[in-house]
């Protein structure tokens, strides 16, 4: 069986991460991860919810060394945690901060010893075929869908990303505003430190001033890994920023206006990544140079003859053959255009789900007779940049009030998808076949919300 080392092309004295106290070397990181591996109880699964990027990295690698698989769900709702406990018996939750792990056994991140033995011998090697992480999407049936990632593909993924972003031979210090457990943050912060020569800032800055402080805490060259929503908030704040040498955005399409404004403001290129939890990152583009996407090394796309609605990604670091949820126009030489999403899919501020999933969740609330989520057509307020359009929901639930319904929903779905507004109605405008056409919901929305 083939094995690949934990790090690619890294020396032990290079910088792996930046903490408020200063730089952590690759060697120190490995020593701490080996120590932590010895603290983890037996068991196959590790649900690593550490907020701190460095602690997540230690937990992930400790689990890797201890033979565990990392579980990375798309949300941490009570419902999801119950699911994880049921589907992955013995799963251990590793957490920092104030996390309530519900039904899972929980290990608080331990205090790290100051003195640890020096690293001796070779860098550990991991079998390429081993499943080391399972990332989850919400799925349309209400059950989290697992997407298994093998070590070999993750290494290949990080190396492809580093090459596409011009980081090979030009390592950057990474400041990420995105969670490290989700696909984009996982690949573009953590994996770039293991296999792309970069070092990351341990925090996850949120407010614009936090981002400015995090940037100032690491030397140049700096790479800001963010989302369209965080990026436009940063630009709108209009505060003094330390130099940024490269920006990377993903999770939702970035508008050409925001990309141009960011390039002008930072005097640095803005790149975008396209991908999904299922496929991992598969393409990139520099947004100001036009709408065309370029596939990462080794990745291919295909459509069935006569059906251009469905595109498949395969090759390179993609695990198997993955159907993509976007409508795509293929071009030659690994180029393509994104034409939009399949109607059922929802992306709000970079979080993805489907109407089918949301409808399933709301219908499962005791007391709900009928319900439908609806994403209005309205264009967000232009003055807000990447404005966020919220979901609405129409619900028939004679025994429940709005507050009870929202409390029940909050246990099941990510807060970003909670309906605003949630309207209680005597019935829904289903047609004779029991279907709820989008046009009927749009009309209902206009009559009850916009002019109500």
């Amino acid at each position: 069986m083939k094995h690949l080392p934990l790090f690619s092309g890294r020396k032990l004295d290079e910088i792996f991460a930046w903490l408020p106290a200063g730089a952590v070397s690759v060697g120190r990181f490995l020593a701490e991860a080996q120590w932590l591996a010895g603290q983890l109880p037996a068991g196959e699964w590790l649900l690593n919810v550490c907020e701190n990027r460095y602690r997540f990295a230690l937990g992930f690698v400790a689990g890797l060394l201890a033979g565990k698989t990392s579980l990375q769900p798309s949300s941490l709702s009570a419902e999801t945690l119950h699911r994880m406990a049921a589907d992955y018996p013995g799963a251990l939750c590793l957490c920092d901060g104030e996390f309530a792990a519900e039904s899972l056994p929980c290990l608080r991140f331990p205090e790290l010893p100051e003195r640890l033995p020096d690293i001796t011998g070779d860098i550990p090697k991991i079998a390429t075929e081993r499943v080391v992480a399972i990332l989850f999407t919400s799925g349309s049936t209400g059950l989290p869908q697992p997407h298994r990632k093998t070590w070999g593909k993750l290494v290949q993924n990080a190396q492809a990303g580093a090459a596409a972003l011009g980081l090979v031979g030009h390592p950057h210090n990474i400041i990420g505003t995105v969670p490290v457990q989700h696909s984009f943050g996982f690949e573009s912060t953590f994996l770039l430190a293991l296999h792309g020569g970069c070092a990351f800032w341990a925090g996850k800055p949120f407010f614009p001033q936090d981002i400015a402080s995090a940037l100032a805490a690491v030397p140049r060259p700096r790479l800001l890994v963010t989302t369209p929503f965080h990026l436009s908030a940063l630009l709108a704040a209009d505060i003094p920023l330390p130099a940024i040498d490269k920006l990377l955005s993903a999770t939702a399409p970035l508008s050409a206006e925001t990309a141009s404004a960011a390039e002008a403001r930072c005097a640095a290129p803005v790149h975008e990544i396209y991908g999904s939890t299922e496929s991992g990152q598969i393409a990139c583009r520099r947004t100001t140079q036009g709408p065309v996407w370029h596939l990462l090394p080794g990745i291919e796309l295909a459509q069935e003859a006569g059906n251009r609605d469905q595109t498949w990604a395969f090759g390179g670091h993609v695990e198997g053959r993955i159907p993509l949820s976007d409508l795509i126009e293929l071009s030659t030489d690994g180029k393509f255009l994104l034409l939009g999403r399949h109607a059922d899919l929802i992306n709000i501020a970079g979080r993805r789900t489907s109407l089918a999933y949301l409808n399933h969740q709301i219908s499962a609330v005791p007391g709900v007779v009928d319900a439908a989520f609806f994403l209005p057509d309205e264009t967000p307020d232009e003055s807000k940049g990447e404005g966020i359009t919220r979901l609405a929901a129409f619900v028939v639930a004679p025994t429940l009030d709005q507050r009870q319904l929202l409390a029940a929903l909050r246990k099941r779905i990510d807060p970003i998808f909670l309906p605003r507004p949630l309207l209680l109605l005597p019935s829904l405008p289903r047609n004779s076949t029991g279907k709820l056409p989008r046009s009927a919901l749009q009309a209902l929305f206009e009559s009850t919300v916009q002019h109500g």
Binding site: G97, E98, P205, F206, F207, P208, Q209, D210, S213, F229, H230, A233, A236, A237, I239, I348, A349, K384, I388, L406, A407, R410, P415, I416, L418, R420, P421
Partner: protein, 94 residues
Amino acid sequence: MSAAPAPETINNLMPEIAGLIVEALNLDITPEEIEADAPLYGDGLGLDSIDVLEIALVISKRYGFQLRSDNEDNVRIFASLRALTSHVASQRTL
């Protein structure tokens, strides 16, 4: 951090902050309906991180200071309308 603002300063400022929240987020309620001590996150008003960033932007423009989330202040500052108002009153430069 500056000295804690007087309770009456906070009480006088609260309606204004409530108004900013309702306006910034386009909420379907009146400012008076936001309870002073109810949580803004989760089971109270139900704000999420998108809302918090939008409110932060409006507050920074209006009151001349930037919100920061060092030391988990974020959770504390947005604990309630009163907590947020108190933070604004102690940090404002405008």
